[in-house]
Symmetry: C2
Subunit: 138 residues, 2 copies
DNA sequence: ATAAACTCTGTACATGGGTACAGAGTCAAG
DNA sequence: CTTGACTCTGTACCCATGTACAGAGTTTAT
């Protein structure tokens, strides 16, 4: 089933096609629709969803924003803010802040674990593990 | 109800006491027990859990290991490996690796989002948000 | 003696982001 | 025409890590 719009000459795609194209699962796309993150697509008589380019672009938008660390709720916000730039900027800055905090948390952890594993490496005492010990007593 | 061991002179604590001491919730402690992460505590006739210092230390161990980014399952492993230092080290190195990967992922994101929000800031066009645009087309 | 505060077990719910059916209908290829 | 591949709706389930409650029993404080 391939439908071509008379107006735009555009090919509409079934859910399976678009899923394969965007490397998403069919279930995931239906899930996004259920959650109101993408629009409802057209449904001809047979009830099959048919996607045009605009919904496909929405899906790509979601994928990219998710890759930047935005949650689905935030993606939703972003899409509805559309072009209120200062709102978008503030959400971006907020996300930036969270990311930077995460980074420094992780760097602190990295340091601690590095020290611990180093002390394991230079450990000759079979009966005691310095990593475990530091968790026990530090 | 305070119980004092005749042998060690040790005070046993009820779940509420130990929860307050370790800043955990009572439910969480019971949850750890259900999941087999901590030992079953003694239960006298009234059925109340009574905790001695050893279980308290197990709980502290869990809190610290969790703070280092170990999952409960991993904490469990760590506790049962006890002092097999090379096993512990390998789990630590694995965790270190994950942490380092996360850090570099996040740093990449940081860079992208920074650029995006910067372009928002220098944007005068009310009708277009560069952050949104780059998600749309990049 | 009584009320507040604590504990017990067992079960259900929460979160986020999906995944996995079952059972029925539809479409495309040979 | 049949078979396989696709789609539909609706619902239940997954993961980890807890949280929340109901209904009953116990302890402690006044």
């Amino acid at each position: 089933m391939i439908e071509v719009s008379l107006v735009t000459g555009y090919t509409m795609k079934t859910i399976g096609k678009i899923a394969k194209e965007l490397n998403l699962s069919v279930e995931t796309i239906r899930f996004y629709e259920r959650e109101g993150i993408i629009q409802q697509p057209q449904k001809p008589l047979n009830g099959y969803r048919l996607y045009d380019d605009s919904i496909s672009k929405q899906l790509q938008f979601i994928c990219k924003a998710k890759a930047l660390g935005f949650s689905l709720k935030e993606v939703s916000s972003l899409m509805s803010m559309d072009s209120n730039c200062s709102q978008v900027e503030s959400l971006g800055l907020q996300k930036l802040n969270i990311i930077q905090n995460k980074i420094s948390d992780l760097q602190r952890l990295e340091k601690v674990i590095k020290e611990m594993t180093n002390s394991c490496q230079s450990n000759n005492d079979q009966a005691n593990c310095p990593l475990i010990d530091s968790l026990k007593w530090s």
